[in-house]
């Protein structure tokens, strides 16, 4: 549209946006580097007096923070990190995989009607608090409660609507002639979609995967309700950093939060060119 340079005023706006965006992040990172005495200091301490990695160490060695007179953490965060990686990765891959096929089906083989978007999205509109209890009843009956399989199944189901919709918008943009050419060349329908359609929407697959991963990675309520002791995820672990002798362990919480967001931020940087173009959910037709 226009490729004019920035005016000073716009540059200032961007600067403000940058500061506002980064300030809370800065605060989380600084909190993660603060020794326990600085967590609740008044007035608040911006830059830790003596930056320390003790909060990060405590995540994996709960007794480490004992050096600061804080005790009462009983478990390391290893299980939670493992659980989060396992559930989010599996659920995201399955959700995007199934979503891809569903998107192909909707885009190429289904007569859509005015309720189709609603139908796809309705899976995302359930208030989680309402279906959580039925989940407990059903999952206890079929022994899926407190298992990763159960949690992954739920995550797939609740993210599938977005995965399907986003991917459908990308598939819609691929001219169907491309696939048909491949089919005429003798490929089966399935192979044509996998070898021709999928690579063409690579950027869309990346963007969708990241978006779905963020949703799974942050999910709290279902994990809380369905976990007893076998499964744990990072958001659940975060809520458990409260001890009788030191109250809420803000530093340790922040350390885990930093660990949890770092990979997502890196992923965001890596696929930024796909992010900046694909996320229109099919609302723009070229």
């Amino acid at each position: 549209m226009n490729t004019r340079p920035l005016t000073p005023l716009l540059a200032l706006v961007l600067l403000v946006a940058l500061v506002v965006t980064l300030f809370p992040i800065f605060w989380i990172v600084m909190t993660a580097l603060k020794p326990p005495t600085d967590w609740n200091a008044a007035p608040a301490i911006w830059i830790p007096s003596e930056p320390t990695l003790i909060n990060f160490l405590t995540l994996f060695d709960p007794d480490a923070i004992g050096a600061f007179g804080v005790g009462g953490i009983s478990e390391s965060a290893t299980a939670a990190v493992f659980g989060s990686i396992l559930t989010s990765t599996c659920a995201t891959l399955i959700s995007v995989g199934i979503g891809f096929f569903a998107a192909i089906g909707l885009s190429r083989y289904t007569r859509v009607n005015r309720f189709t978007p609603l139908f796809i999205l309705s899976g995302r509109m359930f208030p989680p608090a309402a279906i959580a209890v039925p989940f407990v009843i059903i999952f206890s009956a079929i022994q899926l409660i407190d298992t990763y399989v159960g949690l992954i199944a739920i995550y797939v189901a609740i993210t599938l609507p977005f995965a399907t919709w986003m991917l459908k918008s990308f598939v819609d943009e691929v001219p169907r002639e491309v696939e048909e050419a491949a089919m005429i060349d003798g490929q089966s329908r399935l192979m044509a979609h996998l070898t021709v359609t999928a690579p063409l929407i690579k950027g869309g697959l990346f963007a969708t995967t990241l978006f779905i991963f963020i949703l799974n990675w942050s999910e709290f309520l279902f994990a809380l309700v369905l976990s007893y002791s076998n499964i744990e995820t990072i958001p659940i672990r975060l809520a458990k950093y409260v001890t009788a002798t030191a109250g809420t362990l803000f530093g340790v919480q922040a350390a885990l939060a930093v660990l949890a967001m770092a990979p997502l931020i890196v992923a965001g940087f890596l696929i930024q060119k796909h992010l900046a173009r694909g996320m229109t959910f099919g609302a723009v037709k070229r």
């Binding site: 946006a17 965006t21 809370p24 859509v112 189709t116 608090a129 039925p134 975060l238 967001m261």
Partner: protein, 328 residues
Amino acid sequence: MPQEIAISDLKGTRLGVPAADRTSAPSPTGAQRAARKRARFARGLAAPGMIISVFVLVVPLLVALAMSFTTWSPTRGSLLDAGFEGLFNYEELLVYDTRFVEAVARTLTLSVICLSLELAIGLGLAVIFLREFKGKSVLFSTLLTPMMVMPVVVGYTFWMLFQSNGPINQISMILFGTAPEWFRSAFFAWIVVIVTEVWHWTPLFFLIMLSGLNSLPENPIRAAVILGASPRQVFWRVVLPMLKPVIIVALVIRAMEIVKLFDEVFILTRGGPSTSTETISLYIYKLAFQDFQLAYGAAAAFLVLIGTLLMVHFLLAPVRDQLLGEPR
């Protein structure tokens, strides 16, 4: 601006086959067989999604629906023995439970305020990002970071930021010589909740808006410029109407999520002062997981589900054709 996508490069290279060649020839029986095969394939594509949705969403939903017509709670024995009470819960909610009605109204108000702000800021930033400047790609990714932070963490962080001797009040004291007690009045508590929510999710709007702007066809814009339209006119008369579908879709996606807003508000205000920031999901959580009025909570959730469905349906109406793509 770079506009081409990988697909457009392919156009023409492999697509030499004329359309007529593809549709002609097969005999009627062959066509029928092909149609059957095609339908079977279509079913196969939809099957995994359908199966998992039915087992994991529809079945629990039916259980919850059945529950909502009883007055069951675990303190009253088994669900199987619970009697059918008709629409009792629904009547209670809509007619007598002012707290529910207020929570719904409040959630709507909060959504409108937050979504407007997120849209305005996100769109504004996206427009700035159409210009060329140094460090654009780094800044782009940096502005997206709030999206990557878990809601629980966002809640704790903003709670700390807004404490009386936290950094926000330190800054406010320096600038204005005074600072509010953020959690003492409904007005300021709302500001805290709105600021938190806007900070957390404006990046998604920014991302979608920028993505939409980047995808707009250039010809109408060029035409407008040639006809002598000022940049302002181009934006309001040409770009914005073309962007409308993207805006609506972004609103729909965030509206569906904001109805579920829970973690941040629970940590920041617990719905207080009194219930002045109690969103509908906070109230349903209270009903289902603190009071264990499961039947009543399920009924409340169904009303919310129906409301959300209707809202999304009507919001999508203007852009439905565009979203559907060309069916075949």
